[in-house]
């Protein structure tokens, strides 16, 4: 039965049909599938399937990413309170758009994917100053600062990621807090994340969820 549910859910997600995906999950729960299985055996594998589709050069588009992130977030939020015991937090992250950047879509998608992976995310909003990224990371005991930027000048600006890196360095926090970046400019320039002082980047929100989980594991070591 689970195999059928997974196939139907994946199809709904790839069709960007949020209502159908949610209905499949609710029906499955009524049929006795545990909330834990719905998150860990249906939702997360669907995200991984999308990452694999991307690496296999299948056409996966922004709308599918957006709806996958939204659906994953919604299902996880609905199912977690029903878990038999609270899930282990995979790590803590603060996220915001770079200083001067007002574009929220990428951030929103990444948040959805991270929450589905049991990452505790604090959303700092848009146009976030470098000092605030660092202060909030410390306040929330976050191990990763995630910075989203849609424009080249906000991705590379002196007051954005570069300044976050400087502040972490000056305060001796570089071993404790890592920086991850994402957004259109990074997709057009492979090495750009290093130029701006980030530790990691991801080309899209779904991949970002997976890359973030790996980065959090690395910081834990």
């Amino acid at each position: 039965m689970l195999a059928r549910i997974i196939a139907d859910y994946n199809e709904a997600v790839f069709d960007t049909d949020r209502e159908r995906a949610l209905q499949i999950v609710r029906d499955a729960e009524r049929q006795g599938i545990s909330p834990e299985d719905l998150v860990f055996k249906v939702v997360l594998p669907a995200m991984d399937a999308m990452v694999n589709a991307l690496s296999d050069q299948f056409s996966v588009n922004l709308a599918q990413h957006f709806m996958t992130a939204q659906i994953s977030d919604a299902v996880t939020a609905e199912m977690i309170p029903k878990f038999h015991q609270a899930p282990e937090v995979a790590g803590r992250v603060v996220i915001g758009t770079a200083y001067g950047d007002m574009h929220t879509l990428g951030k929103r998608m990444v948040i959805g994917c991270l929450r589905a992976r049991m990452v505790e995310v604090t959303d700092l909003g848009v146009n976030v100053a470098a000092e605030r990224f660092v202060e909030e990371a410390l306040a929330h005991d976050a191990r990763v600062i995630a910075i989203s930027a849609l424009m080249l000048h906000t991705a590379t600006g002196e007051l954005g990621c570069r300044k976050v890196r400087r502040l972490l360095h000056e305060r001796g926090l570089e071993d404790r807090i890592k920086i991850m970046v994402g957004g259109a400019p990074f997709r057009f320039h492979d090495g750009l994340y290093r130029i701006v002082g980030a530790d990691a980047w991801a080309p899209d929100a779904i991949s970002a969820g997976k890359a973030m989980a790996e980065l959090l594991q690395e910081v834990k070591k």
Binding site: F14, D15, T16, R18, E19, S59, N61, L62, A63, Q64, F66, M67, Q70, G100, D101, M102, H103, T104, L105, R108, N127, M151, L152, H153, T154, T156, G157, A184, P185, F188, H189, G191, L192, I195
Partner: protein, 347 residues
Amino acid sequence: MITGMDRLTAAIRGEEADRIPIFCNLLDQGAAELGVSLQDYYARGESVAEGQLRMLRKYGHDNVWSLFYVGKEAELLGCQRILYSAEGPPNVEDFVIHSWDDIARLEVPADIPSHPAFTEVGKCLQILKNEVGGKNPICAYITSTMTLPALLMGMEKWMELLFAGPPGPCEELLRKCHEFFVKEVAAYRQGGADVLIYSNPFGSADTVPMKYFLQRSLPWIEKDIQAVGAGGMVYYCGMARLNSVLSAVIERTGIGACYLSPLDDLAVGKRLIGDRGLTCGVINDIQLISWTRQEIRQEVKRILDVGMPGGRFLFGTGVMPLMIPEASIRAMLEAAFEYGSQGGKGA
């Protein structure tokens, strides 16, 4: 003397000029050239026109722009706050549509040329028309019906409305955006723009699934182009890829020029467009911030080697970021002039 317009006309007709047309999209660079802040620069149409003319004299490419910044369209529809930066283009700071209820209140200006937010654009167009009209293509940037809502409510809310929201407000917003689109095209044509970049990321299968493109995006593209005519229109998806939609767009709209993404396979795009229109091969200008002179020349040569055989080809850039070094702009253009040479007399 062969002009930029001659080169463009020759390329569209499949004829040769002295070289292929070269579009280098330098916007914010005009402010630095005039030694003023971006905010002061974009406050005056005279400044923007002067910046464009100086860019043209300095670099020798073929086109000028009447575009100030993309958020200008949001200002025409009621946006009151634009966020300026010293390092890059201005951004919409406060959206016109905060909730779906705002859609009913959205007003399309009755007359765009007389709208206060268009006054400086009108002045810029007038100067460009007087100075280089008929000699250099004057470009305008027009956001498609399907994409304009993203400027008014943000990409996130627009995606939500489009894919999971109530159909009523969604259709009403699209109808209003289409009405605005038609009036905006008329305003720019009346002002003297020859080349209208029809910007439509929602018309790319990188943004929406192909099935959705065929069912929803393509009918709006058809409606847009039928309403204003295909003359001077260039299909562009905001750096998203368009190869997979090219044939449908050309067949259903008659658009005669397509501005590919640097991520598109140029050989495939050129083959798909064939003799049906002008192929615009576009360099990845984000890479220009760090490529060496040699790397730039190699990439320009690669693009022209693929695009030039068979004619009907234009070399272009995206919206060139301000942080690209001047030497890199020159290296790119020198290579394009050199490798793009044709030896013809022009149209």
